[in-house]
Amino acid sequence: MPNSSEPIERHTLSVLVDNEPGVLARVIGLFSGRGYNIDSLTVSEVSHEGHLSRITIVTTGTPMVIEQIKNQLDRLVPVHRVRDLTVEASSLERELAMVKVRGVGEARGEALRLAEAFRARVIDATRESFVFEITGKSDKIDQFAWLMEPLGLVEVARTGVVAISRGPEAM
């Protein structure tokens, strides 16, 4: 039993896996089966020839649990590598969101002005709505969505976090 007095930490893990059927189910099953948290999870193929996918997982737990998560992931047979971007080096994290806002008049203008301030792009427009595309750290997207709420926020779609380490080295 992990010591409950240990602090809860948030870590971003990069996992390189064989792009084979069931690999995502294995990873997710590991988290649900052992009671670990998933705050965010993204997955996509990164090498078509190498049949490799990269999974980025944001998780929370005590340091002992985080270490367990990494070791448990690493022993899954189709997993090539597990890297903890939170501890290993300074890393970059980005998320993309699409934000739909409905409104007319002053609210519509205000939404556009805020979008510009956040460097969000308009990727769809009708007479009474916009869809903005915004990229950045998760808290920037949280902030943007929060500001859009009184201006007619309809819905948000987010990719979840992708992350990569700074500098010349691969994971």
């Binding site: 069931g22 099953g29 002992m64 367990q68 070791n71 690493d74 047979v77 997993v79």
Partner: protein, 586 residues
């Protein structure tokens, strides 16, 4: 080697290339092509079980007693789901198994076809790895990979699910020599600085202990040999988990007996009092540690394990060493000798004096009776009357299992097969059948309880069909004994559904199956009855009627520490011994 053949033929060819001699299975619609391929050859023997769960347990007993991979062949749907308990058991106890499951044809998958189930989905959490093979040209590679994954690193069960059309299809077979797994490369050797740190830490100890587990057995007989040498040269006392019994000889003076919930007083007190603990191929399971925050307080811990995820899972250790037990122990032994290290003699002598005091409590003592057979006495006699033979012991799960672990003494590895992690009632008989298949001339005994044995009783039929003269030694107390014991200790003696009102007449049952039944209920008759059992070269059910009230001690109550264990003669204080928090634990 590469040549054209059908998928079904590939399965048999891959078995042959992997050196498989025996497989345990049960046919059905979705594996008929493989059974047809089996029919056309003579080098692989198929043992027809009576339930797929037993096929896996038999393969486990076979693997555990021989060091080989156990192989299972079952059909789709219920064949696969019945195998799930066995697969989970093998995963928990790290037993190498390759299980071939039939699947409905690829075009029917997902259509709720007859005897279809999502086998890879269902078995994903209960296997080390699994595969669904959709193309016959992937089949040979997948099969060889399955054997590699099952036995390398921490061993475990691997399922290969093969749709029926893939079994019929023709494709290219490749031999095992061309197969290398893309990614799976377990780390086997530790780095030299870690070895150096480990031997230095051990040499600096005043109260050292070796705490060994199933990993030593899995690593092969060489690991046991080096462990013995390392223990001899260092003078360190040795205890073991349930799964590790036999790695260190019970007759050795440095042997403390099993540790944990029903371990010996001296083993648990030594664990509690040690200053340097070397955990070798064990995993700090809750049966071992008791209350975690009071586990071996003040000790420095070295943990040798092939599986990095075992490190720091339950207990934080000071020096983790990832690697195979054989290699790490060999490196430690070499480093110890090269540096000419030794543990301070005065300190070690004082430690042994303390241990001998604990031994003096004689914690396994029980009150003998001339009227009724005490279960401990039955195991003692069974041990004494078989110890000079080539004997393999399996068990079911419960009190009898713990008594067997306490009173049967193992001198060699691979002689002891029990369901440790999952605790599967019904494990012992099929496991004994598997062990008997691997060792046809040995004496294979399933030490059983009358409740557990009924869970896979049907395998008696398998034993008779294949002339496997296993002995089922039932300690019959008419209760699910361990359940009754916990109800007595924790639930005010309210024996809710733990008494079997209606039991079969085991002697008649043995007869009905075509075996031999023996009943014994008098201590004075016991030796002769056991001798009779040993002499019979057919499957025997031995119905040993024992004291219904006997409890298994010593016992560390749930949620208590090693130094708070209850001994048999202290049993009156039980109610106070278990806290409310402890009652929540199992």
């Amino acid at each position: 080697m590469s040549k054209q053949m059908t998928g079904a033929e590939m399965v048999i060819q891959a078995f042959a290339d992997q050196g498989v001699e025996h497989i345990f299975g049960y046919p059905g619609g979705a594996v008929l092509p493989i059974y047809d391929a089996l029919f056309h050859q003579n080098h692989i023997e198929h043992i027809l079980v009576r339930h797929e769960q037993a096929a896996v347990h038999s393969a486990e007993g076979y693997a555990r007693s021989s060091g080989k991979v156990g192989v299972v062949l079952v059909t789709s749907g219920p064949g696969a789901t019945n195998a799930v308990t066995g697969l989970t058991d093998a995963l928990m106890d790290s037993i190498p198994i390759v299980c071939i499951t039939g699947q409905v044809a690829t075009h029917l998958i997902g259509n709720d076809a007859f005897q279809e189930c999502d086998t890879v989905g269902i078995t994903r959490p209960c296997t080390k790895h699994n595969y669904l093979v959709r193309d016959v040209n992937d089949l040979a590679r997948t099969l060889h990979e399955a054997f590699y994954v099952a036995q390398n690193g921490r061993p475990g069960p691997v399922v290969v699910d093969i749709p029926k059309d893939v079994q019929f299809a023709t494709g290219t077979y490749v031999g095992r020599e061309n197969i290398q797994h893309k990614t799976y490369r377990p780390k086997l050797d530790a780095e030299a600085p870690q070895i150096a740190a480990a031997v230095e830490m051990l040499a600096g100890a005043k109260r050292p202990i070796f705490y060994t587990g199933g990993g030593v057995i899995n690593s092969g007989p060489e690991a046991s040999r080096i462990l013995r040498e390392l223990a001899r040269i260092t003078g360190v006392p040795v205890t073991s988990t349930l799964m590790g019994l036999g790695a260190f000889p019970a007759a050795n003076r440095q042997w403390l007996g099993m540790l944990g919930m029903h371990g010996t007083y001296e083993a648990n007190m030594a664990m509690h009092g040690c200053d340097v603990m070397v955990c070798i191929g064990a995993r700090f399971d809750d049966r071992i540690t008791g209350r975690l925050d009071a586990f071996a307080p003040g000790s420095k811990k070295i943990h040798i394990d092939i599986d990095p995820s075992s490190i720091n899972k339950n207990v934080k250790v000071d020096l983790p060493i990832i690697g195979d037990c054989t290699r790490v122990l060999a490196d430690m032994l070499a480093a110890w000798k090269a540096r000419d290290l030794s543990i301070d003699k005065g300190a070690l002598d004082a430690w042994w004096t303390q241990i001998d005091r604990w031994r003096g409590r004689n914690c396994l003592a029980y009150r003998h009776s001339d009227e009724i057979i005490k279960p401990q006495y039955a195991i003692e006699r069974l041990y004494n009357l078989t110890k000079d033979r080539d004997v393999y012991i399996s068990t079911e799960v419960g009190q009898h299992q713990m008594w067997a672990a306490q009173f049967f003494r193992f001198e060699e590895p691979n002689r002891w097969m029990t369901s440790g992690g999952l605790g599967t009632m019904g494990y012992g008989l099929p496991a004994a059948i598997g062990a008997q298949k691997a060792h046809p001339d040995a004496l294979c005994i399933d030490i059983a309880g009358e409740a557990s044995i009924l869970m896979n009783m049907q395998e008696m039929s398998t034993a008779v069909q294949f002339d496997l003269p296993v002995k089922i030694f039932i300690l019959n107390n008419k209760y699910m004994g361990m359940v009754r014991q916990w109800q007595e200790l924790l639930h005010g003696g309210r024996y809710s559904h733990s008494y079997s009102e209606a039991l079969p007449d085991f002697v008649k049952l043995a007869d009905a199956y075509g075996g031999v039944g023996i009943r014994c209920d008098k201590p004075s008759d016991l030796d002769a009855a056991i001798e009779e059992m040993i002499a019979i070269k057919r499957p025997v059910i031995f119905d040993c009627i024992v004291d219904q009230q006997e409890n298994c001690f010593p016992m560390i109550p749930s949620g208590r520490a090693h130094n708070e264990m209850i001994l048999g003669d202290m049993a009156v204080d039980l109610d106070e011994a278990i806290t409310d928090e402890g009652k929540m634990l199992v």
